[in-house]
Subunit: 326 residues, 2 copies
DNA sequence: TTGTAAGCGTTATCAA
DNA sequence: TTGATAACGCTTACAA
């Protein structure tokens, strides 16, 4: 490892001078600067972030916690975060929490021990522990009043999903509700519920998780219990895919007999047949904005508490009928 | 931030003593040990990894580089890595390389600057840069003779895929070849090619990437150029899904008229309809083994160069015919 | 414009 | 069994 000391020797100056040119701090003669730069170049010197970090109590590290990177919505978020951070010279420590508070606490410890400068969290809204860290935290795809957060317009999304099915003629709708403890899931559920409630169609509600493991059995159960369903508002695209598969398996015509609308717009939607109509959340953008917001609160000392809501949109594909057909 | 000094004061001893109980190093009287532990408890003290890292030139950080976490195969790998590492008390710095050498170099710099202890890389086999780091590197789902690597048995996988289609009666097979610069892709391609070559069936080869963005057009092209194809060996599951969709779109009966076999066994396979038959790569296990291998080479000083090949298996679902039917 | 030296939070050596 | 202290690589007063 080449240190500042060696650079100083090579350039025939003191370490202080090298440090000055490194940080463009204080006065340094043009000549000396060049000499130092030459030495740096020659030795391929790169300052040791660890030493800097120790002195400054800062770092170029950001923590990112997601419930499970294996769930296809999160890689998009993570990628948005990473791309922005990387261009700002920051790097990512990442952890999967499985929505498990113990694990979260472990990461919090790890983050603290590594002088992580800020955290982006897509995990449970149980944020008591996070407050202890005393560094900026931005919630991503999660909402909690005490923290800045970046999320998509769940109310609009829920309404949109319900209205789409209604407009296109579903008369017996099954509404799949996501995890009840997740505010975003609850919000879009409530919004859809409200729309259905104001309509004259028949509808029912089923609970489900967001996860692939439960999706198939949820789908089976749905058609066993409500065989006459002609419209499904799924909790997310994973669940929607499972419903689609099960419907096809039972010989339903889609979208003629049954319309399905998903949520998220994960990449595979367009690979399904029929391709899944869904509510698009701008996941990559959300990640990017969360990172941007975090950078902003790093740069200014006063706490910010911005709530940033990004718009959702309906992506019309093949599991909903064309509106003219109604 | 509470430091070792404060703990020492609280316990009425010197920092050296605290350090000794922290690391269970050297002699320390039972009484004093208890006093120190009490102080630690009381102040919620946690040693600063940064300071340790500076002194020891070590850390609890591992670097992980993947081409693109957005590609559904990599989250499984990453999760396997993370779970194992986490249980060993290590943490992950992660980066997406986009197979871009410049980006890789940036991560290498970042890893070095943070005293990262080892790297797991699923990115290009252009490893010249990695050697410069002088820390253990384990290749994951990539192979290169100079590095330890963990990968799945591509030769068996390629053969299996071809044999499955052959056994089940495909007589006009299109073999989709993945990125030519990737040794694993090339190996499974070659293995499948070899099997087809020894058979008496008609077959053709098309080049494709692994990516979702190219998948649809590849699929279209496939059926435009080779409308009589009755068996497709896809480069991976993404491509297979696109082919499946396109085939369905064109009204083909699956698997009666056309069999499709994927590669990887990403989670969505079972959500498709018909569900995708595929060659299963034990991605999670691979990640875990790579992490294990890395830990091993961290613990012993001499370089290891283990090549670990995990078995693949055929997952029979609905895009291949039952073998009795032939 | 430059250099000396103290300090960031640890660990390890050495002396007591 | 304990405590001073130098060292890890860097930054920043302060002195020159």
């Amino acid at each position: 490892m080449v240190t500042i000391k060696q650079v100083a020797e090579e350039a025939g100056v003191s370490v202080a001078t090298v440090s000055r040119v490194l940080n463009s701090n204080g006065y340094v003669h043009e000549e000396t600067r060049k000499a130092v730069e030459k030495a740096i170049e020659k030795l391929h010197y790169r300052p040791n972030e660890i030493a800097r970090s120790l002195y400054h109590h800062t770092s170029k590290l950001i923590g990112l916690v997601v419930p499970d990177i294996t769930n296809p919505f999160f890689p998009e978020l993570a990628r948005g975060v990473e791309d922005y951070l990387q261009q700002e010279g920051y790097h990512l420590m990442i952890g999967n929490s499985d929505e498990n508070v113990e694990k979260e606490v472990q990461y919090i410890e790890a983050f603290r021990q590594h002088n992580v400068m800020g955290v982006i969290s897509s995990t449970s809204e149980e944020t008591a522990e996070w407050t202890k860290l005393n560094i900026p935290v931005v919630l991503l795809d999660r909402v909690q009043n005490d923290f800045p957060s970046v999320y998509a317009d769940q109310e609009a999304g829920g309404q949109m999903a319900a209205n789409i099915l209604l407009e296109r003629g579903s008369r017996n709708i099954t509404l799949l509700r996501g995890p009840i403890h997740l505010r975003i899931a609850q919000e879009r559920f409530l919004a859809a519920l409200h729309v259905l409630g104001k309509s004259d169609v028949h509808f029912q509600v089923m609970n489900t998780s967001f996860s692939l493991h439960d999706a198939s059995s949820t789908a089976k159960q749905l058609f066993d219990q409500y065989p006459n369903t002609d419209g499904v508002i799924a909790a997310n695209d994973i669940v929607a895919s499972a419903v689609l598969r099960e419907a096809l398996l039972r010989g339903k015509n889609i979208p003629e007999e049954l319309q399905i609308i998903g949520y998220d717009d994960i990449p595979v939607c367009e690979l399904l047949y029929p391709a899944l109509s869904t509510i698009h959340q701008p996941a990559y953008e959300m990640g990017k904005e969360a990172a941007k917001l975090l950078m902003k609160s790093l740069k200014q000392s006063k706490k910010i508490n911005e709530q940033m809501m990004l718009p959702v949109s309906f992506v019309e594909r093949e599991t909903t009928r064309k509106v003219e057909k109604v």
